[in-house]
């Protein structure tokens, strides 16, 4: 048994018009929460589809749980939540879930028991109302997403792949999803999720891989990545609206190389050889009320912007979407 759930070596996938993935290699450790980060069209979905064996790489190899990805028996160990969710709209919730479970080789009685457990757990089955008996149509968007999530996990997969799982979720459902992901990890499951929400990725992932234009930009454990990008960053928090004097300090190129301005919170990359203490003094001199001043590793968000090449802080690009 290998220590890696996923081993991709030099995989490429070409379409007539463009190269979707070029010479991609990555390792996903067993039991890790792994983030697949990248802008739209970077090749995330193609990579996920190669892992799922929906498409095969033109060259290179993809191994899952130590077996070649073309091994059909693998599908029963993988759970997949696609980016744009959809279910048979006219079908009853329980029947949809039973069908998805059968596709993963689950016996009907086992499936029915687990469906009930999950429906109760995610509040889709309460003493007042059993949404399992409703048609998908009759559910709200959030409930449909829960159903789809149940469908992904019914067969208790060892590898869970979530494509943009947080997009379109309200805070309550997002929290429920996060809780479930943490619990899955504690039970030793490997979770891969793609996202362009860097805050989420930074908080949840053990390791990440950033891809852009079909190529890997960097990958590894988050801690290593951040250390590797130095500690020349300062997190600055202010009380109240910053004055123009603060703005003047922050635009001093001899002190500050770059700043990510979130109005009352700033992530500052120091200029070469500049002293953070000097910055602190200058800001205090403006009379601003400081509630946070901390020398930090750059955030994943900063690293992403820096490495993917969108040095668009000045033009207001934040990468959030």
């Amino acid at each position: 048994m290998t220590d890696f759930t996923i081993e991709i070596d030099n995989a490429s996938k070409r379409y007539a018009e463009h190269v979707a993935v070029r010479d991609l290699s990555l390792r996903v450790p067993r039991g890790a929460v792994y983030g697949l980060l990248g802008p739209n069209g970077a090749g995330k979905t193609t990579t996920i589809r190669m892992i799922l064996n929906i498409i095969a790489p033109d060259s290179g190899s993809v191994r899952i749980l130590g077996r070649p990805s073309s091994d059909r028996s693998l599908t029963d160990h993988i759970g997949y939540l696609p980016e744009e969710r959809g279910l048979y709209r006219k079908m009853q919730v329980k029947r949809v879930l039973r069908f998805l479970a059968e596709l993963k080789g689950l016996k009907r009685d086992v499936a029915d028991r687990r469906i009930d457990e999950w429906l109760v757990r995610l509040d889709l089955k309460t003493p007042e109302k059993d949404w399992g008996l409703s048609k998908i149509d009759e559910l709200s968007r959030g409930m449909q997403q829960k159903v789809q999530f149940i469908g992904t996990l019914l067969h208790d997969p060892d590898l869970v792949i979530l494509d943009e799982p947080f997009s379109g979720l309200d805070p309550i459902n997002a929290q429920a999803l996060k809780d479930t992901m943490v619990e899955l990890k504690q039970r030793g499951k490997t979770i891969i999720f793609s996202t362009h929400l860097m805050d989420n990725a930074e908080r949840m992932c053990d390791s990440v891989c950033i891809i852009a234009r079909g190529e890997k930009v960097l990958d590894g454990p988050i801690a290593d990545i951040k250390t590797g990008h130095g500690s020349r960053n300062v997190a600055l928090g202010l009380n109240g609206t910053p004055s123009t004097a603060v703005g003047a300090v922050l635009s001093d190129r001899s002190l500050v190389h770059r700043v990510d301005d979130s109005n009352r919170y700033f992530e500052i990359e120091m200029a070469k050889d500049a002293d953070p203490q000097a910055l602190l003094h200058r800001i205090m001199a403006t009379g601003a009320s400081i509630n946070r001043f901390e020398i930090v590793h750059p955030s994943l968000h900063q690293i992403f912007l820096e490495r993917v090449g969108a040095t668009g802080v000045e033009v207001g690009m934040t990468g959030h979407g």
């Binding site: 997949y80 959809g86 279910l87 048979y88 069908f99 998805l100 596709l103």
Partner: protein, 428 residues
Amino acid sequence: MAKLWAIIKREYLERVRTKWFIFATVFGPIFFGAMIIIPAVLAKRGQATAEFSNTRILDATQSGVGRRIAEGIARTRPPGSSAPEVILVPPSALSQAESTATRQVMAKQLSGYLVVNVQTLDGEGIKYAGRNATSLGDMERMRTVVRDALLSRRLEDAGIDSSRVRDLTFLPLRLNTERITDKGRGGSGTVSIIFAGAIAFLLYMSIVLYGQNVLRGVLEEKTTRVAEVVVSSVSPETLLAGKILGVGAVGLTQQILWVITTVIMFKLRGPLLAKFGISTMPFALPEISLGLALLLLLFFVLGFIFYSSLYAAVGASVNSEQEAQQAVQPMLILLVATAIFINPILMNPTSKLAVVMSLLPFSAPIIMPLRLALGSVPWYELAGSLIGVALACWGATWLAARIYRVGLLMYGKRPTLREMVRWLSYSR
């Protein structure tokens, strides 16, 4: 295999559960029944009825011809009806009697009256007026009866004994038609044409209806992205096969239910038609041998697979119903072209047109069953047709599987024909 079964099961059950399926399955035979009964009701005017029981014969000849005619009508009348009434009138009072009778017909006290006069005795003419005067069957019967009556009077005048005359002229002739084929007797000619037409129509309808159904199913899975989830569990080929087999099974179920109810209705048609006042003609259902039944089934299955895999390919390559409507045109043209030729081929099942259409793979699944139902087909033509359809089926599924596999996960712009040709070479 269990997964293929899960897909077939879902496709089948979800469709059979719909209101539309239940509605069509129940009302299909009633609709067919109506198609049989309504023409029969309309044709009632053309058939012999019991109407003569309430007619009046105005005899102005003093020759007894009126009585003879009444006897003739009475001999052929349906049981339970009374013989016509004969009134002897002097020629001078005839027009008065006619207008009285006309009023009575108008008041529905009489259904009609017959005027026998001197011209009638000469064999020149006779007049009938009544509500059933447009009924070709009734009028033909009346003509025959009058003719017989006049003939027997002439024979008696020529000195032949009256009882001999009656025996000699009684000739209730009925023309029974029977079709003979290479294999022997094959039931009534009309019935087998209706039967063959019904089979071709049923096949055509099922393929169009359920082919569209496959298309809509594929499109639904693609647009809702369910397809992505499913193909992460099974291969696209399995999904495609499961869909076609599941939908095909629905079509087959419906047809079998239709045939069963139709046969039951046919057996019960006597009492059923009697409610509409129609007496049934004695004709038997065509005999369907097991071999013929299996051949029909085989052609349906192959034809359905051929068309539905093409429908599935279309469904996978488009992004909306509107696009699908356009993309499906070429196949609809093939199907409609076939349907147009059903009638001419029914009329002339051994023509060159019929032979060619039953060999071309796109029309064979409909036309060959039609020819088989009409009678014998040379074995080599049958074999050629089967092989052709089977090969076309293989080609269509191969093509469809490739287009389906790529198209299912391709969103956005509708592919051009050239792009789709390129898809064929994609490995995966």
